[in-house]
């Protein structure tokens, strides 16, 4: 029983981590329909920036945190300006391939600077955040992940549903020329969504780093894990990303715990394909509206 609860807690927290990584991804997709293969590398960029600021520059944690987030916000802007903007209007596959190339660039660069080893942050989360549920102890990082996850879900949910800016962003993804004709600043929307996405990615990179330590290879493979999560949830659904993250997190830990560790890596994909055959737009994805 305690093994089960242990897996449950691990699965949930892993799931929230996936969900958190997926949020930034959905953000980009919702406003520009780009499938970002460099998401894991963006996470790594944020995580390492935080590492540099805390351990090398020895800044106070809150300051380092704010600097990292704003740094990545800027990074997002720069990426959009340099790489994505020339491709506005090109085919989907070219944009996908561009993010693949970007991923390789970032990964190579980060490996060049930091190497492939694991780095650790100084520990800073208060002990008081540790939760005790009966026999189970939930470490503070997990609690923090959970809180951040919920916070983001609510924030982005409201942002896209009700705020004018959110509606403008959705309008751009829906029909670019029409948005342009109404005075929506399309290029600014793209830049903003990349900036926010990079910031969210940095956030999830840091959280992941606190739990496992940071390592370029691992972060970039988490970036790939985002795909089954967002597709399962439905590419444009924030709530779906959270739910799918939790499902896949649980699936992985339980498969790993009860069946086999080698199957663990593959099970999300198997489930993904099965679910997609029943629900072709994921659990909550918008169904394509076709008029003949």
């Amino acid at each position: 029983m305690s093994f089960f609860l242990h897996l449950l807690v691990n699965g949930l927290s892993l799931g929230f981590l996936y969900a958190l990584s997926a949020l930034g991804f959905v953000m980009i997709y919702k406003s520009s329909s780009v499938l970002n293969f460099a998401h894991g590398e963006l996470m790594a960029a944020g995580a390492f920036l935080f590492l540099v600021l805390t351990t090398w520059a020895e800044l106070p944690i809150p300051l380092a945190f704010i600097l990292t987030l704003s740094g990545c916000f800027l990074l997002g802007f720069v990426i959009e300006r340099l790489f994505l903007r020339p491709l506005i209007g090109e085919d989907l596959i070219q944009v996908i391939m561009l993010t693949v190339g970007m991923a390789a660039m970032f990964k190579g660069l980060l490996l060049f600077i930091f190497g492939g080893d694991i780095h650790q942050y100084p520990s800073f989360l208060p002990e008081a955040m540790n939760l005790h549920l009966g026999i189970i102890q939930i470490p503070s990082v997990y609690v923090a992940t959970f809180i951040i996850g919920i916070l983001f879900l609510v924030m982005f949910g409201f942002f896209f549903k009700y705020s004018s800016q959110g509606i403008y962003m959705r309008s751009v993804a829906d029909n670019q020329p029409a948005a342009m004709s109404l005075g929506v600043h399309v290029r600014r929307v793209f830049a903003l969504s990349w900036a926010i996405a990079a910031m969210v990615a940095a956030m999830s990179g840091i959280v992941l780093g606190i739990i496992n330590g940071i390592n370029v290879h691992e972060l970039s493979s988490i970036g790939l894990k985002v795909f089954p999560v967002v597709i399962l949830g439905g590419l444009d659904s924030i709530g779906g990303a959270i739910l799918a993250g939790v499902i896949i997190g649980l699936l992985e830990t339980f498969t790993g715990g009860y069946i086999s560790t080698s199957l663990r890596e593959i099970i999300p994909y198997v489930v993904l394909v099965v679910i997609l055959m029943v629900k072709p737009y994921g659990l909550f994805g918008l169904k394509e509206i076709e008029r003949v």
Binding site: G89, S164, Q165, I167, Y168, R170, S171, D174, N175, Q176, P177, A178, A179, M180, S181, L182, G183, V184, H185, R188, L286, I289, R291
Partner: protein, 267 residues
């Protein structure tokens, strides 16, 4: 003309992808608070003219290479669309470019982009008052709306922006006769009640000339005829090529259409 000029297009040429010339020296002017219509065949360059004004040529790799476009005395040619819309020029694109995955109300809210931060609830109410059909469909995804509802929605969306100059591209395309009249009645109302200057490109020349004050006829990238709407309606060429004889003889027999036709004189 005695009224103040709102928009002045002076001898512009438009070229797509640096090679394809679509407009060859087009000049037209729109007086303040008037409805001006632009008619002509498909491919004559009417839509391109609208896009040259609204700046939407750019995303399609088009450019105004010669001439000037002045809006309220200021030159606006080749500015990016954001800058032009901010000055109050809003274009309603051809073929109901709705945001499929946004509800009707959200679609209307996108119209506030140029007035970001200003209250918009009054405007929403006004649009619903102009188009009661939209009020009933507020929460529906626009992808599920009928063609008529969509056409009302995209016009309403433009009205949300408080346009100074409204550019309408074929507002009656694919609409039923009753609805066509309804739409034109509303265009007229917007012009009268909100003092909006309107440039309307229309295939339904008959309707367009009924509501417009002034009209231009365009063929092959050039303006070939212009005049007050009343005068144009009486012009024999306009009658034959754009109005048809429907007005005078009722339904004409399509079974006796000849294979050859009189060509347009000005071509």
């Amino acid at each position: 003309m005695t009224t103040e000029q709102k928009l002045l297009i002076n001898n512009i040429s438009v070229v797509y992808s640096d090679v394809i010339q679509v407009l060859k020296g087009v000049s037209l002017s729109i007086a303040d608070k008037q409805i001006v219509t632009l008619v002509g065949s498909n491919g004559a360059g009417k839509t391109t003219t609208l896009k040259a004004i609204s700046g939407l040529l750019k995303p399609e790799n088009g450019k105004v290479t010669e001439g000037s476009i002045e809006f309220k005395g200021k030159s606006i040619q080749n500015l990016p669309p954001e800058a032009i819309t901010r000055q109050g020029i809003i274009q309603v694109l051809e073929g109901r470019q709705e945001f499929k995955y946004l509800t009707v109300e959200e679609n209307l809210r996108v119209g506030t982009a140029t007035r970001f931060g200003k209250p918009y609830h009054k405007d929403l109410e006004r649009v619903y008052e102009l188009f009661p059909a939209l009020a009933r469909r507020k929460k529906t995804l626009s992808g599920f709306c009928s063609g008529g509802e969509l056409q009302m929605m995209v016009i309403g969306r433009a009205i949300m922006a408080h346009p100074d100059l409204l550019l309408l591209d074929e507002p009656s395309l694919g609409l039923a006769p009753l609805l066509v009249r309804e739409i034109f009645r509303i265009i007229r109302r917007v012009n009268v009640e909100q003092q909006t200057t309107i440039l309307v490109v229309e295939q339904n020349t008959n309707m367009a000339l009924q509501i417009a004050h002034y009209g231009y006829v365009m063929e092959n990238g050039k303006i070939v005829l212009e005049g007050n709407a009343e005068d144009l309606k009486e012009n024999p060429d306009v009658k034959e090529f754009y109005l048809g004889t429907a007005g005078t003889q009722g339904i004409k027999s399509y079974h006796n259409l000849k294979s050859y036709k009189r060509r347009k004189r000005w071509l």
